[in-house]
Symmetry: C2
Subunit: 371 residues, 2 copies
């Protein structure tokens, strides 16, 4: 639906989160072409960055034949499993006492990243499941170092179904770390896991070429519309729209202050709109006095500034120049014309964190668009 659809006065109070699953599918399919012949897989951890992992996983399973999924925690795997019968669900944070039952119940596959966790696995193996091993290649996060690999027996090494690692700087095409990590990963996997399927790259690595794609790519952020190759124009379609209704339009006389701690003072008479969204809805407070909001009034898109501090439930916008704006109109905080990447930049963070925050509560009216 066009954001220019105008209606008569309506009073609404809830912010709206719209997730366009058609565009998510388009992004996923486009990424599949980029990485071919590598096998695609979908990263739906953190509840699909807040978009509802059960909905996203089902959409990819039914609409794009995706059968390989990655979550961070077993509890996330348990949520999606009923939607994707027979698909493989890999759990990146691995297995422990607090998740063993879920692994058994939902036949989840753990990613084993430390010798201690491997010992745990050997004591609690699950019939029919062959774990994945993560090895360290330069990120210095989770994963077996070579010293750890050397301590594994031949039988140990044979227990794994896949070897993975993770890139640190793949969003910078020419960063020296990319080549360094690729070489380290290839050396270690050929030495210890010859012939085993391998996965090194997430969305950002997908654009670094076939060498980086190995056998499987873990597609996440880019699928959700984030530009994971910021050295060039974003080729993904925007998936997420966040809008919220104007609760009040009022005058702000010259000299008056706005918001907590009175951080904004009107130098001239202004007109302001109070909009029903705040950091409680995941809109970063760091947008205070710098964020943008867009209003579609009389078939024209108007840009407005957030003035004063973002509060928990409201933001205040300067709408002096938007003549016919009225109560009930919607302010657009994320949409095709001001994407997650744009908002994240203005909020001094990254799109990943922004998306992970938006929509993690029950106050949003959630609209899923599919076909």
């Amino acid at each position: 639906m066009s954001i220019f659809t105008r209606t008569n006065l309506h009073i609404n109070t809830r912010p709206v989160l719209e997730i366009n699953l058609n565009k998510l599918l388009n992004n996923y399919k486009m990424l599949c072409e980029v990485i071919a012949p590598a096998t695609p897989s979908a990263v739906v951890k953190d509840d699909a960055y807040g978009l509802d992992a059960a909905v996203v996983a089902k959409t990819l399973y039914e609409g794009a034949n995706c059968y390989d999924f990655w979550v961070a925690h077993a509890v996330e795997g348990a949520k999606i499993a009923p939607q994707i019968p027979g698909a493989q669900i890999n759990v990146l944070q691995g297995i422990g006492e607090d998740s063993l039952e879920l692994f058994e119940q939902y036949q989840l596959t753990p990613v084993i990243s430390s010798p201690e966790m491997f010992e745990f696995w050997k004591k609690h193996q699950i019939s029919g499941i062959r774990p994945i091993i993560q090895i360290e290649s330069g990120l210095n996060r989770l994963g077996f170092r070579e010293a750890d690999l050397q301590k594994l027996s031949r039988a140990d090494l044979k227990m794994f179904s896949m070897v993975i690692s993770h890139l640190a700087c793949a969003d910078e095409k020419d960063h020296f770390m990319n080549e360094y990590q690729l070489n380290t990963f290839n050396r270690l996997r050929h030495k210890y896991f010859a012939g085993l399927p391998a996965s090194l790259s997430a969305s950002d690595g997908a654009f670094l070429g076939a060498d980086f794609c190995c056998n499987m790519v873990r597609l996440g952020a880019a699928m959700y519309g984030i530009n994971t190759a910021p050295y060039r124009q974003n080729q993904m379609e925007n998936v997420v729209t966040v809008k919220a209704p104007v609760l009040q339009i009022t005058d702000l006389p010259k000299g008056q202050f706005v918001g907590y701690s009175a951080t904004y003072r009107a130098a001239t008479n202004r007109k302001i709109a109070i909009v029903s969204i705040g950091y409680g809805d995941g809109l970063p407070r760091s947008l205070s006095n710098v964020g943008k909001v867009f209003f579609a009034v009389k078939n024209k898109l108007h840009e407005a500034r957030i003035i004063g501090r973002v509060s928990m439930d409201n933001v205040i916008c300067d709408v002096t120049d938007i003549e016919q704006i009225k109560v009930g109109d919607y302010g657009y905080f994320v949409f095709d014309g001001y994407t997650l990447d744009d908002v994240a930049r203005d909020a001094s963070t990254i799109s990943y964190e922004l998306l992970s925050r938006l929509g993690k509560n029950t106050r949003f009216v959630r609209n899923y668009i599919l076909k």
Copy 2:
């Protein structure tokens, strides 16, 4: 339970959010004494800042005879209503087409903040409910301005059960805005709503004296342990503990980089711990390279630094000086010794936003402590 309770090696993967309801009750009762004889009420909007509004409301209702609650949205009121039969639930963002049914079903009381919303109310009045009116006193957020009040008829003015406003700078004891807002609020309410119960202050205003407490104070942030009077030592007890298990301990050789974009480089050989929590769990990414984590090892509390970027599911900590730390130990990210206020300061935000983020997902193991 003491954080010094040591156990044998355990492998766990999930972060833990512990909410001490005894301390929350203590805080609430202490605040009740501060504001007496004003009537206390509890702010449980934003799902009680992420702590689960149903649990918090029930605790206050049963444990402290709290019968007046404030939420932002009707959908939040609907969640708590079954837990607190007969209590009054006021909805700060007001009423609209997208919430009318919930107001009727759960007998919620809307806060009316604009002439347009008042017109809506008059068309859709709910039997037995007398709305609250919000008037503007200097925050320049939601509320009737005097020009709006002048347009209300005598019958209109009689429809309300309470008049409220909200302070902008109450966390600064001597800020000129406090006196200005108090005077504005009192002038308007006596002129238009003589004799009507009034509420001006939230937690921060509670400490500004009896004049600011009026008939009712809306107790929120301070109840959750946040210091809303930062000009003096916090008198609240810490309610929230966030901890996460160490998944791996490993060497970081001199010269190597850590985390996304390689923002940390080891100047000497270090020992690092990879801990299972990240911004997907609400730990702000702005703690990258500056945040602190605490480990209780051998009956001593050790401070460690977050090094490199906070990622979605993990943080990496420098534990070089913590000799006997091992996989399965818990890192403490929020606790009595490093409170929400401390973390928020280090993350360049406020405790309100931090608390609102923590715990808004299903990955935490949630422990509620009561009696």
